[in-house]
Symmetry: C2
Subunit: 391 residues, 2 copies
Amino acid sequence: MRHKKRLLTPGPTPLPEEVRLTLAMDMIHHRKPGFKAVLSEIQEGLKDLFGTSQPVIPLASSGTGAMCAAVTNLFRPKEQVLIIEGGKFGERWGEIASFNHLDTVVVTVPWGKAVSRKHVEKAFAQYPDIKGVFVQASETSTGVLHPVRELAELTRDKDVMLVVDGISAVGVSPCPMDEWGLDALLTGSQKGLMLPPGLSFIALSERAWDRVAKVKPKDFYFNLAGEKAKIRDNQTLFTPAINLLMGLHTSLVILRERGLEEIYRKQWALTQLVRTGVRRLGLELLAKEHYTWGLTSVRLPAGVDGQRVLAAAAQEYGVVMAGGQGRLKGRIVRIGHMGHVDFGDLLAGLYALERALCACGGHSGARDFLEQGMRAYESALAEYKGGMSHV
Amino acid sequence: MRHKKRLLTPGPTPLPEEVRLTLAMDMIHHRKPGFKAVLSEIQEGLKDLFGTSQPVIPLASSGTGAMCAAVTNLFRPKEQVLIIEGGKFGERWGEIASFNHLDTVVVTVPWGKAVSRKHVEKAFAQYPDIKGVFVQASETSTGVLHPVRELAELTRDKDVMLVVDGISAVGVSPCPMDEWGLDALLTGSQKGLMLPPGLSFIALSERAWDRVAKVKPKDFYFNLAGEKAKIRDNQTLFTPAINLLMGLHTSLVILRERGLEEIYRKQWALTQLVRTGVRRLGLELLAKEHYTWGLTSVRLPAGVDGQRVLAAAAQEYGVVMAGGQGRLKGRIVRIGHMGHVDFGDLLAGLYALERALCACGGHSGARDFLEQGMRAYESALAEYKGGMSHV
């Protein structure tokens, strides 16, 4: 049977129709007044989303490009930095830092757990020369939410930059940069922003910009000081990804209409839907406590082949989910529920997961996992208090 | 009056409807078989376009990103390289090389002229340690075509890499990489490929790949050896710009249907249309001899303000052209005629240019510049011989 496709991967996420139609518009030139007005409105929308009064720099790159920009613009070779490594993207921070000759101290966290404040305090005590901390707000490979707000309490009064990869957090769960005291926050276009991949964004705190001025980075493409000077005039240093930025302009209008707190409320409720449904199926969640609001990682029962489960869900029910990355390859299923995804998509997703598991020698499942998921969703919607209390 | 918009800038260029509709398609996941099949077909199309049997690496970046990739992947700090600098993008080669601590020897060419073989021979004699030559096939800031084929005759038997920025040449005028013996050829998506900006592409010769293996570059984002290993499996190292690559798949189908020689014939004829029309208007062409086939730079009469001319053409006739860059700012108009542009667009463009010039205190113009332009176009179409004889 030819099914309607449902993309439930933790990036890319489905696109709203308005965004898709904007992406289809013919080209305009990027050095003319019309596009400058678009860039100006985009700046306002991105500042709201990041919770910052600082400029948010758009880059024509994947999210990894913005990660590279943070490393090369904020630190000099041989400076010591702390890497929080509890997943594939934590590992990536370490790789980028090593490539750029930083002296890395690594705090290893079991994949599926969040780093604790104590771990980081201990590292600071042991390595007083640490000048930066690299962490994921949301580790997309595991579905864990690291406590960046608490980490900022440790770094904001020290000469230590807190650099936060917000790739599956920005526009998904609260991460107000200025209020929390983050020094760098970055994201990609293909998650909460409901766009195709190809754009990344990074904002720096005032003291982080001071550091860039001192470091005098020699990264020609990821030149944040150069971009900052240009964005003041609503331009970019190099030819921008015009249609993706036009699409961003549209998606920011949609996000603003919904309101940030409403978006977080929905994300929180969708997360409860999936977690309850999965538990009701007798499956184990990878992230038990500190879980992200944009994806849910599910451990597969022993002996079940993850690739087969994903293929069955896609072929038989049109539901495309993601597998594990790195050391979790084949051992988990990741269900994405950020961006343009709603409860109906997730009901289809849970049903497809259950059927695929059965087809692959998993278990028979509970009979009421969909209803229980929806009850959890409705309760979460009603009880959500906002104010970031759920982090 | 509200006019139909006509984008006649040398990038971005207008998009064919099929490409625009593809850009509007909803997201698919980049690690699944469907997208791998697309990447595989894209490889075949790009190899044809570049004239190479080597892989063509797609990058999520502007064209400048691919320029950075060439510099950081092919050379070690302190190696001596020759920069051909006859425009803003020649200058950019020099800036990127200096940022990356290469020892640069610069051959300066007047903006509007092509480098000569003799210049380069002289530099080789004077600086025997030169390990690379950086040049534009087509210098987009002036509209000059540098003789890269002749330069390759000088480098191919030496231990010297010829690195060619083909940003406004690939898919516009012949530049067959393997046949000519270029060591690196790169381009961006927003010119001959008829796509929005946001993608770049680079291919290396066999001996250039050997050099990468020796250099062991430490560029995390622009990691060509890493991308080459991935592209064999129809994947990319980082999240690719999915919708732009889907659009590329469509534009490559269109280009293949037309055939490369037919595309070059049309580009050659459009160039004759514009050059003849402009001359007939009594205006001076910036590039007298070695001109590109995708844009034409026109000198403005003394005392005429370039910004006013461009604004008048856009406001009164809907025709968007580009001004000069760098030292040519305000002194020239650049008419783009690559990508999804035809003779009708250029008739409108020439007419708008003439009217705008008159409105800005230029001259009254000839009466038959449109007809003369079309006669030149028809003759060029009929007489075009192919086989790259017009370079």
